[in-house]
Protein backbone atom coordinates (compact mmCIF):
# COMPACT_ATOMS: atom_id res chain seq x y z
CA UNK A 1 0.00 0.00 0.00
CA UNK A 2 1.48 3.29 -1.04
CA UNK A 3 0.41 6.83 -1.87
CA UNK A 4 0.99 8.91 -4.97
CA UNK A 5 3.29 11.74 -3.96
CA UNK A 6 3.59 14.76 -6.21
CA UNK A 7 5.75 17.82 -5.66
CA UNK A 8 4.96 20.67 -8.03
CA UNK A 9 6.35 24.18 -8.29
CA UNK A 10 4.61 26.85 -10.38
CA UNK A 11 7.03 26.13 -13.21
CA UNK A 12 7.04 22.34 -13.33
CA UNK A 13 6.46 18.96 -11.69
CA UNK A 14 9.56 18.02 -9.71
CA UNK A 15 8.61 14.65 -8.37
CA UNK A 16 5.74 12.29 -9.06
CA UNK A 17 6.09 8.78 -7.75
CA UNK A 18 4.55 6.24 -5.40
CA UNK A 19 5.96 6.29 -1.89
CA UNK A 20 5.13 4.85 1.50
CA UNK A 21 5.33 8.10 3.41
CA UNK A 22 6.10 11.76 2.85
CA UNK A 23 7.10 13.95 5.76
CA UNK A 24 6.55 17.64 5.15
CA UNK A 25 7.08 20.81 7.17
CA UNK A 26 3.57 22.08 8.00
CA UNK A 27 3.23 25.66 9.18
CA UNK A 28 2.13 24.34 12.58
CA UNK A 29 4.48 21.38 12.79
CA UNK A 30 5.77 18.52 10.65
CA UNK A 31 3.19 16.19 9.17
CA UNK A 32 3.58 12.80 7.57
CA UNK A 33 1.31 11.82 4.70
CA UNK A 34 0.64 8.08 4.77
CA UNK A 35 -1.85 5.79 3.06
CA UNK A 36 -5.41 6.34 4.34
CA UNK A 37 -4.58 9.61 5.98
CA UNK A 38 -7.68 11.71 6.65
CA UNK A 39 -8.12 14.45 4.01
CA UNK A 40 -6.23 17.53 5.09
CA UNK A 41 -5.13 20.77 3.53
CA UNK A 42 -2.38 22.78 5.12
CA UNK A 43 0.10 25.56 4.57
CA UNK A 44 3.82 24.76 4.63
CA UNK A 45 6.75 26.63 6.09
CA UNK A 46 10.22 26.54 4.58
CA UNK A 47 11.82 23.16 5.21
CA UNK A 48 12.66 19.71 3.93
CA UNK A 49 10.25 17.14 2.50
CA UNK A 50 11.43 13.57 3.01
CA UNK A 51 10.06 10.81 0.78
CA UNK A 52 10.16 7.36 2.39
CA UNK A 53 10.01 3.97 0.76
CA UNK A 54 9.93 1.36 3.47
CA UNK A 55 12.09 2.79 6.24
CA UNK A 56 14.59 4.48 3.96
CA UNK A 57 14.53 8.08 2.75
CA UNK A 58 14.70 7.92 -1.05
CA UNK A 59 14.34 11.56 -1.94
CA UNK A 60 14.75 14.84 -0.13
CA UNK A 61 13.50 18.21 -1.38
CA UNK A 62 13.72 21.65 0.07
CA UNK A 63 10.48 23.66 -0.26
CA UNK A 64 10.28 27.39 0.45
CA UNK A 65 6.75 27.42 1.81
CA UNK A 66 3.57 26.50 -0.04
CA UNK A 67 0.51 24.30 0.39
CA UNK A 68 -0.18 20.62 0.64
CA UNK A 69 -3.24 18.55 -0.15
CA UNK A 70 -3.27 15.24 1.68
CA UNK A 71 -5.87 12.61 0.79
CA UNK A 72 -6.15 8.87 1.52
CA UNK A 73 -4.57 7.86 -1.78
CA UNK A 74 -2.46 10.82 -2.82
CA UNK A 75 -0.50 13.76 -1.53
CA UNK A 76 0.16 16.89 -3.59
CA UNK A 77 2.67 19.45 -2.42
CA UNK A 78 2.38 22.88 -4.03
CA UNK A 79 5.73 24.46 -3.33
CA UNK A 80 6.45 28.16 -3.85
CA UNK A 81 9.92 27.05 -4.86
CA UNK A 82 11.33 23.54 -4.61
CA UNK A 83 14.86 22.20 -5.06
CA UNK A 84 16.50 18.84 -4.68
CA UNK A 85 18.55 18.93 -1.51
CA UNK A 86 21.78 18.15 -3.37
CA UNK A 87 21.28 21.17 -5.63
CA UNK A 88 20.96 23.71 -2.84
CA UNK A 89 23.69 26.28 -2.40
CA UNK A 90 24.60 27.57 1.06
CA UNK A 91 26.05 30.77 -0.40
CA UNK A 92 22.90 31.63 -2.35
CA UNK A 93 20.72 31.07 0.69
CA UNK A 94 23.00 33.12 2.93
CA UNK A 95 22.96 36.00 0.45
CA UNK A 96 19.19 35.83 0.38
CA UNK A 97 19.00 35.75 4.18
CA UNK A 98 21.27 38.80 4.46
CA UNK A 99 19.06 40.69 2.00
CA UNK A 100 15.90 39.72 3.89
CA UNK A 101 17.31 40.71 7.27
CA UNK A 102 18.30 44.05 5.85
CA UNK A 103 14.81 44.71 4.49
CA UNK A 104 13.40 43.60 7.85
CA UNK A 105 15.52 46.24 9.60
CA UNK A 106 14.30 48.87 7.19
CA UNK A 107 10.67 47.75 7.16
CA UNK A 108 7.89 49.76 8.75
CA UNK A 109 7.49 48.18 12.19
CA UNK A 110 3.80 49.15 12.36
CA UNK A 111 2.90 47.19 9.25
CA UNK A 112 2.36 43.85 10.97
CA UNK A 113 1.15 41.76 7.98
CA UNK A 114 4.19 42.80 5.92
CA UNK A 115 6.50 41.99 8.84
CA UNK A 116 4.88 38.57 9.20
CA UNK A 117 5.53 37.83 5.53
CA UNK A 118 9.16 38.91 5.92
CA UNK A 119 9.54 36.78 9.04
CA UNK A 120 8.24 33.76 7.12
CA UNK A 121 10.72 34.40 4.34
CA UNK A 122 13.59 34.74 6.83
CA UNK A 123 12.57 31.47 8.49
CA UNK A 124 12.49 29.83 5.07
CA UNK A 125 15.98 31.13 4.18
CA UNK A 126 17.37 29.87 7.52
CA UNK A 127 15.83 26.47 6.91
CA UNK A 128 17.36 26.48 3.44
CA UNK A 129 20.85 27.13 4.82
CA UNK A 130 20.41 24.35 7.33
CA UNK A 131 19.14 21.97 4.67
CA UNK A 132 21.97 22.86 2.30
CA UNK A 133 24.58 22.26 4.99
CA UNK A 134 23.08 18.94 5.96
CA UNK A 135 23.29 17.80 2.34
CA UNK A 136 27.02 18.44 1.97
CA UNK A 137 29.03 15.99 4.10
CA UNK A 138 28.46 12.75 2.23
CA UNK A 139 24.84 12.29 3.24
CA UNK A 140 23.84 8.69 2.80
CA UNK A 141 20.44 8.77 1.19
Amino acid sequence: MSIKVKIVSPEKVLFAHDADMAVMPGAEGDIAAMPDHAPLMLTLRGGVVDIYEGDAVTNRFFVAGGFADIAPSHCTILADRATKLEDLSVDDAEARLAGLEKSYEEADKMNVPALDILMDKIQSARAEIEAAQSAIPGMSL
Binding site: S9, K12, P39, L40, M41, L42, D69, A71
Partner: protein, 293 residues
Protein backbone atom coordinates in the same frame (compact mmCIF):
# COMPACT_ATOMS: atom_id res chain seq x y z
CA UNK B 1 9.18 51.22 -67.93
CA UNK B 2 11.64 50.01 -65.33
CA UNK B 3 15.17 49.42 -66.51
CA UNK B 4 16.79 46.03 -66.21
CA UNK B 5 19.07 47.31 -63.50
CA UNK B 6 16.14 48.54 -61.38
CA UNK B 7 14.39 45.22 -61.76
CA UNK B 8 17.49 43.28 -60.74
CA UNK B 9 17.83 45.43 -57.65
CA UNK B 10 14.20 44.89 -56.68
CA UNK B 11 14.41 41.14 -57.16
CA UNK B 12 17.54 41.12 -54.99
CA UNK B 13 15.86 43.05 -52.19
CA UNK B 14 12.73 40.88 -52.19
CA UNK B 15 14.94 37.81 -52.08
CA UNK B 16 16.75 39.02 -48.99
CA UNK B 17 13.42 39.93 -47.38
CA UNK B 18 12.29 36.40 -48.01
CA UNK B 19 15.42 35.07 -46.35
CA UNK B 20 14.70 37.16 -43.27
CA UNK B 21 11.05 36.19 -43.00
CA UNK B 22 11.76 32.51 -43.45
CA UNK B 23 14.49 32.68 -40.79
CA UNK B 24 12.06 34.43 -38.42
CA UNK B 25 9.54 31.71 -39.10
CA UNK B 26 12.03 29.01 -38.11
CA UNK B 27 13.03 30.87 -34.95
CA UNK B 28 9.39 31.38 -34.01
CA UNK B 29 8.68 27.69 -34.57
CA UNK B 30 11.52 26.66 -32.26
CA UNK B 31 10.46 29.16 -29.61
CA UNK B 32 6.86 28.07 -29.93
CA UNK B 33 7.76 24.51 -29.15
CA UNK B 34 9.66 25.58 -26.03
CA UNK B 35 6.86 27.90 -24.94
CA UNK B 36 4.30 25.14 -25.32
CA UNK B 37 6.42 22.78 -23.24
CA UNK B 38 6.66 25.35 -20.50
CA UNK B 39 2.95 26.05 -20.58
CA UNK B 40 2.28 22.33 -20.27
CA UNK B 41 4.76 22.02 -17.39
CA UNK B 42 3.01 24.79 -15.47
CA UNK B 43 -0.42 23.21 -15.77
CA UNK B 44 -0.26 20.65 -12.91
CA UNK B 45 0.37 23.37 -10.33
CA UNK B 46 -2.48 25.47 -11.67
CA UNK B 47 -4.81 22.46 -11.64
CA UNK B 48 -3.92 21.47 -8.09
CA UNK B 49 -4.28 25.08 -6.97
CA UNK B 50 -7.72 25.29 -8.56
CA UNK B 51 -8.84 22.10 -6.79
CA UNK B 52 -7.61 23.28 -3.40
CA UNK B 53 -9.14 26.70 -3.78
CA UNK B 54 -12.49 25.26 -4.80
CA UNK B 55 -12.43 22.92 -1.80
CA UNK B 56 -11.56 25.65 0.70
CA UNK B 57 -13.97 28.14 -0.81
CA UNK B 58 -16.77 25.60 -0.63
CA UNK B 59 -16.26 25.10 3.06
CA UNK B 60 -16.32 28.82 3.84
CA UNK B 61 -19.17 29.59 1.43
CA UNK B 62 -21.93 31.56 3.07
CA UNK B 63 -19.76 32.89 5.86
CA UNK B 64 -19.29 36.64 6.09
CA UNK B 65 -16.08 38.64 5.97
CA UNK B 66 -14.52 36.90 3.04
CA UNK B 67 -11.31 38.30 1.53
CA UNK B 68 -11.68 41.06 -1.05
CA UNK B 69 -9.59 39.05 -3.50
CA UNK B 70 -12.45 36.56 -3.68
CA UNK B 71 -15.55 38.70 -3.45
CA UNK B 72 -14.26 42.10 -4.56
CA UNK B 73 -15.08 45.31 -2.73
CA UNK B 74 -18.79 44.90 -3.27
CA UNK B 75 -18.76 47.85 -5.65
CA UNK B 76 -18.50 48.20 -9.39
CA UNK B 77 -17.17 51.72 -9.91
CA UNK B 78 -13.46 51.56 -10.65
CA UNK B 79 -12.25 49.03 -13.19
CA UNK B 80 -8.63 48.01 -13.51
CA UNK B 81 -7.75 46.61 -16.92
CA UNK B 82 -4.62 44.56 -17.45
CA UNK B 83 -4.05 44.09 -21.19
CA UNK B 84 -1.27 41.67 -22.00
CA UNK B 85 0.61 41.82 -25.29
CA UNK B 86 4.04 40.77 -26.49
CA UNK B 87 7.07 43.05 -26.38
CA UNK B 88 7.87 42.66 -30.05
CA UNK B 89 5.93 43.19 -33.23
CA UNK B 90 5.84 41.37 -36.57
CA UNK B 91 3.39 38.84 -35.21
CA UNK B 92 0.41 39.50 -37.45
CA UNK B 93 -2.71 40.75 -35.71
CA UNK B 94 -1.63 39.31 -32.35
CA UNK B 95 -0.99 42.63 -30.62
CA UNK B 96 -3.47 44.76 -32.53
CA UNK B 97 -6.25 42.37 -31.48
CA UNK B 98 -5.40 42.99 -27.83
CA UNK B 99 -5.18 46.71 -28.42
CA UNK B 100 -8.51 46.86 -30.18
CA UNK B 101 -10.28 44.74 -27.56
CA UNK B 102 -8.87 46.84 -24.74
CA UNK B 103 -9.76 50.08 -26.46
CA UNK B 104 -13.36 48.99 -27.02
CA UNK B 105 -13.60 47.81 -23.42
CA UNK B 106 -12.31 51.12 -22.09
CA UNK B 107 -14.76 53.10 -24.22
CA UNK B 108 -17.63 50.80 -23.22
CA UNK B 109 -16.88 51.10 -19.50
CA UNK B 110 -16.46 54.85 -19.77
CA UNK B 111 -19.80 55.21 -21.55
CA UNK B 112 -21.35 53.34 -18.62
CA UNK B 113 -19.90 55.97 -16.31
CA UNK B 114 -17.21 53.80 -14.70
CA UNK B 115 -13.71 54.94 -13.87
CA UNK B 116 -11.07 53.01 -15.78
CA UNK B 117 -7.45 52.44 -14.86
CA UNK B 118 -5.03 50.56 -17.07
CA UNK B 119 -1.95 48.55 -16.19
CA UNK B 120 -0.52 47.35 -19.50
CA UNK B 121 1.82 44.37 -19.62
CA UNK B 122 4.04 44.09 -22.68
CA UNK B 123 5.60 46.91 -24.64
CA UNK B 124 3.31 46.79 -27.67
CA UNK B 125 0.09 47.42 -25.81
CA UNK B 126 1.72 50.07 -23.62
CA UNK B 127 2.94 51.97 -26.70
CA UNK B 128 -0.51 51.81 -28.24
CA UNK B 129 -2.56 52.71 -25.18
CA UNK B 130 -0.28 55.51 -24.07
CA UNK B 131 -1.28 57.36 -27.26
CA UNK B 132 -5.01 57.43 -26.52
CA UNK B 133 -5.31 56.83 -22.79
CA UNK B 134 -2.05 58.08 -21.30
CA UNK B 135 -3.94 59.65 -18.35
CA UNK B 136 -5.54 56.30 -17.42
CA UNK B 137 -2.30 54.30 -17.25
CA UNK B 138 -1.16 53.87 -13.66
CA UNK B 139 1.91 51.74 -14.36
CA UNK B 140 3.26 49.39 -16.97
CA UNK B 141 5.43 46.32 -17.26
CA UNK B 142 7.30 44.48 -19.94
CA UNK B 143 7.34 40.77 -20.45
CA UNK B 144 10.83 39.31 -20.50
CA UNK B 145 11.47 40.11 -24.15
CA UNK B 146 12.56 37.01 -26.00
CA UNK B 147 13.69 35.30 -22.84
CA UNK B 148 11.82 32.73 -20.83
CA UNK B 149 9.30 34.16 -18.41
CA UNK B 150 10.18 33.43 -14.79
CA UNK B 151 7.40 32.86 -12.27
CA UNK B 152 8.70 35.85 -10.31
CA UNK B 153 7.48 38.17 -13.09
CA UNK B 154 3.93 36.95 -12.51
CA UNK B 155 4.42 37.01 -8.73
CA UNK B 156 5.43 40.68 -8.79
CA UNK B 157 2.47 41.68 -10.93
CA UNK B 158 0.15 39.68 -8.67
CA UNK B 159 1.53 41.38 -5.58
CA UNK B 160 1.10 44.78 -7.18
CA UNK B 161 -2.55 44.06 -8.03
CA UNK B 162 -3.17 42.71 -4.52
CA UNK B 163 -1.73 45.80 -2.87
CA UNK B 164 -3.70 48.10 -5.20
CA UNK B 165 -6.84 46.28 -4.12
CA UNK B 166 -5.95 46.63 -0.46
CA UNK B 167 -5.50 50.36 -0.94
CA UNK B 168 -8.95 50.48 -2.51
CA UNK B 169 -7.62 51.68 -5.86
CA UNK B 170 -10.11 49.60 -7.85
CA UNK B 171 -13.20 47.39 -7.50
CA UNK B 172 -13.01 45.04 -10.47
CA UNK B 173 -9.91 43.73 -12.19
CA UNK B 174 -10.04 42.30 -15.72
CA UNK B 175 -7.22 40.76 -17.70
CA UNK B 176 -7.26 41.02 -21.50
CA UNK B 177 -5.06 38.43 -23.17
CA UNK B 178 -4.77 36.22 -26.22
CA UNK B 179 -6.10 32.79 -25.45
CA UNK B 180 -3.97 30.18 -27.19
CA UNK B 181 -6.25 27.86 -29.13
CA UNK B 182 -3.74 26.53 -31.62
CA UNK B 183 -0.80 27.75 -33.66
CA UNK B 184 -3.07 29.51 -36.13
CA UNK B 185 -5.68 30.89 -33.78
CA UNK B 186 -5.35 33.11 -30.75
CA UNK B 187 -8.54 34.64 -29.44
CA UNK B 188 -8.51 37.90 -27.50
CA UNK B 189 -10.24 37.06 -24.22
CA UNK B 190 -11.35 39.05 -21.20
CA UNK B 191 -10.83 37.25 -17.90
CA UNK B 192 -12.13 38.68 -14.66
CA UNK B 193 -9.55 38.26 -11.90
CA UNK B 194 -11.28 40.12 -9.09
CA UNK B 195 -13.90 39.30 -7.92
CA UNK B 196 -12.89 35.76 -8.67
CA UNK B 197 -15.16 33.44 -10.60
CA UNK B 198 -14.92 30.32 -8.47
CA UNK B 199 -13.60 27.27 -10.29
CA UNK B 200 -15.54 24.02 -10.42
CA UNK B 201 -14.89 21.59 -7.67
CA UNK B 202 -13.94 18.18 -9.05
CA UNK B 203 -14.18 16.64 -5.62
CA UNK B 204 -17.82 17.65 -5.23
CA UNK B 205 -18.89 14.96 -7.68
CA UNK B 206 -17.05 12.38 -5.70
CA UNK B 207 -19.16 11.57 -2.69
CA UNK B 208 -16.51 9.13 -1.46
CA UNK B 209 -14.16 11.92 -0.47
CA UNK B 210 -14.61 12.73 3.18
CA UNK B 211 -14.76 16.35 4.31
CA UNK B 212 -11.37 17.99 4.39
CA UNK B 213 -9.77 19.31 7.49
CA UNK B 214 -7.76 22.50 7.29
CA UNK B 215 -4.66 23.61 9.07
CA UNK B 216 -4.61 26.51 9.86
CA UNK B 217 -8.36 27.25 9.70
CA UNK B 218 -10.20 27.75 6.39
CA UNK B 219 -10.16 31.53 6.55
CA UNK B 220 -6.40 31.79 7.04
CA UNK B 221 -5.72 29.16 4.44
CA UNK B 222 -8.02 30.90 1.97
CA UNK B 223 -6.37 34.26 2.49
CA UNK B 224 -2.95 32.79 1.74
CA UNK B 225 -4.21 30.72 -1.20
CA UNK B 226 -5.93 33.61 -2.98
CA UNK B 227 -2.90 35.83 -3.69
CA UNK B 228 -1.03 32.75 -4.85
CA UNK B 229 -3.89 31.77 -7.10
CA UNK B 230 -3.88 35.24 -8.65
CA UNK B 231 -0.18 34.91 -9.41
CA UNK B 232 -0.67 31.47 -10.89
CA UNK B 233 -3.44 32.69 -13.15
CA UNK B 234 -1.33 35.60 -14.33
CA UNK B 235 1.59 33.25 -14.92
CA UNK B 236 -0.59 30.95 -17.00
CA UNK B 237 -1.74 33.84 -19.19
CA UNK B 238 1.84 35.05 -19.56
CA UNK B 239 2.90 31.64 -20.81
CA UNK B 240 -0.08 31.53 -23.13
CA UNK B 241 0.86 34.95 -24.46
CA UNK B 242 4.43 33.78 -25.07
CA UNK B 243 3.22 30.70 -26.92
CA UNK B 244 0.59 32.64 -28.83
CA UNK B 245 3.04 35.34 -29.84
CA UNK B 246 5.36 32.81 -31.41
CA UNK B 247 2.49 30.95 -33.03
CA UNK B 248 1.14 34.18 -34.52
CA UNK B 249 4.60 35.21 -35.68
CA UNK B 250 5.17 31.83 -37.27
CA UNK B 251 1.91 32.09 -39.22
CA UNK B 252 2.56 35.70 -40.21
CA UNK B 253 6.09 34.98 -41.36
CA UNK B 254 4.96 31.93 -43.28
CA UNK B 255 2.52 34.11 -45.21
CA UNK B 256 5.17 36.77 -45.74
CA UNK B 257 7.61 34.20 -47.09
CA UNK B 258 5.01 32.90 -49.49
CA UNK B 259 4.10 36.41 -50.67
CA UNK B 260 7.76 37.23 -51.22
CA UNK B 261 8.07 34.11 -53.37
CA UNK B 262 5.13 35.23 -55.48
CA UNK B 263 6.57 38.73 -55.83
CA UNK B 264 9.89 37.28 -56.97
CA UNK B 265 8.16 35.16 -59.61
CA UNK B 266 6.27 38.18 -60.88
CA UNK B 267 9.35 40.38 -60.98
CA UNK B 268 11.44 37.71 -62.68
CA UNK B 269 8.83 37.31 -65.39
CA UNK B 270 8.80 41.06 -65.92
CA UNK B 271 12.60 41.12 -65.95
CA UNK B 272 12.80 38.42 -68.61
CA UNK B 273 10.18 40.08 -70.80
CA UNK B 274 11.95 43.42 -70.58
CA UNK B 275 15.22 41.77 -71.49
CA UNK B 276 13.67 40.07 -74.47
CA UNK B 277 12.08 43.29 -75.67
CA UNK B 278 15.44 45.02 -75.40
CA UNK B 279 17.15 42.32 -77.46
CA UNK B 280 14.41 42.39 -80.09
CA UNK B 281 14.70 46.15 -80.33
CA UNK B 282 18.45 45.95 -80.77
CA UNK B 283 18.09 43.29 -83.48
CA UNK B 284 15.54 45.41 -85.34
CA UNK B 285 17.93 48.35 -85.17
CA UNK B 286 20.84 46.30 -86.54
CA UNK B 287 18.80 44.69 -89.31
CA UNK B 288 17.19 47.92 -90.45
CA UNK B 289 20.66 49.54 -90.33
CA UNK B 290 22.04 46.76 -92.55
CA UNK B 291 19.13 47.05 -95.00
CA UNK B 292 19.66 50.75 -95.34
CA UNK B 293 23.27 50.26 -96.50
Amino acid sequence: MASLKDLRARIGSVKSTRKITSAMKMVAAAKLRRAETRAAAARPYADAMRRMLAEVARSVAGEGGQPALLTGTGQDKVHLLVPMSSDRGLAGAFNSNINRTTRNLVLKLQSEGKTVKILPVGRKTYDFLSRDFSDLIIDHRHLAAGKEIPFSAAAELGEQITSLLEKGEFDVCTLVYNQFRNVMTQTPTEMQLIPLALPDNDNADNAQVAAYEFEPDEGTLLSSLLPRNLQVQIYATMLETAAGENGARMTAMDNATRNAGKAIDRLTLKYNRTRQTNITNELIEIISGAQAV
